[in-house]
């Protein structure tokens, strides 16, 4: 079990300039949705973006991180992205991301 702050710091090792939002999907500290927003993703295909992040995160899979749902976006894409994270055990329901509060904190 790991904390969202730890996941965020690990992701930032891979993508230092990014805005990183981590959601612990079940409060169990092992299923995470991570939204990563940075200009440096511009011009990269989705898999290339994830490989950048996974270069660090793969060392933490499958333990302590069991599930990692990644959304790698440019700031432009983030403007139009929805606020719902996929929950693999949610029976098709998503989890709302409270991004407005998050941005106020920063």
């Amino acid at each position: 079990m790991v904390a969202v702050e730890w996941v965020e710091s690990e992701v930032l090792k891979a993508v230092p300039e990014a805005l990183v939002e981590v959601i612990d999907l079940h409060g169990s500290g092992d299923h995470f949705h991570v939204r990563i927003i940075t200009e440096s993703f511009e011009g990269m295909r989705p898999l290339q973006r994830q490989r950048m992040v996974l270069a660090v995160m793969k060392h933490h899979i499958p333990s302590p991180i069991h599930a990692l749902d990644l959304k790698c976006m440019t700031p432009k894409q983030a403007e139009t992205a929805g606020d719902t994270a996929f929950d693999p055990h949610g029976g098709g329901r998503g989890i709302h991301i409270n991004r407005i509060n998050r941005q106020k904190r920063e």
Partner: protein, 107 residues
């Protein structure tokens, strides 16, 4: 099936769409695998689903071969596109359809 690199390569060479998943499309054993199967069903093209829970050797073999640490994994014309998050993104922005159609024309 011994999950060798040759066997895995043969699967993605043979089928235009391949999904390595936990369980089957009808009985997925993981929400992410279910989401990936639904994406491919929505694309509306036939796909080969490989259940990697049938053999304990499968997950490490596929992950090493593909150099990708998580399941499910989606292959289009032999190329890994990623997991269910990317598959859904590419379905929604049309690039999955485009990649499928382009590869079909050139093959």
């Amino acid at each position: 099936m011994d999950w060798t690199e040759q066997e895995l390569q043969a699967i993605v060479d043979e089928h235009a769409l391949v999904l390595f998943m936990k369980g089957t499309p009808n009985e997925p054993q993981c929400g992410f695998s279910n989401r990936a199967a639904q994406v491919l069903q929505q694309l509306g093209e036939p796909f080969a689903a490989v259940n990697i829970l049938t053999d304990p050797r499968a997950i490490p073999s596929v992950c090493n071969w593909a150099d990708f640490p998580t399941m499910p994994q989606v292959f289009v014309h032999g190329e890994l596109i990623g997991g269910s998050d990317i598959a859904l993104e590419m379905l929604q922005d049309g690039s999955l359809r485009e990649m499928f159609d382009t590869g079909r024309d050139s093959n």
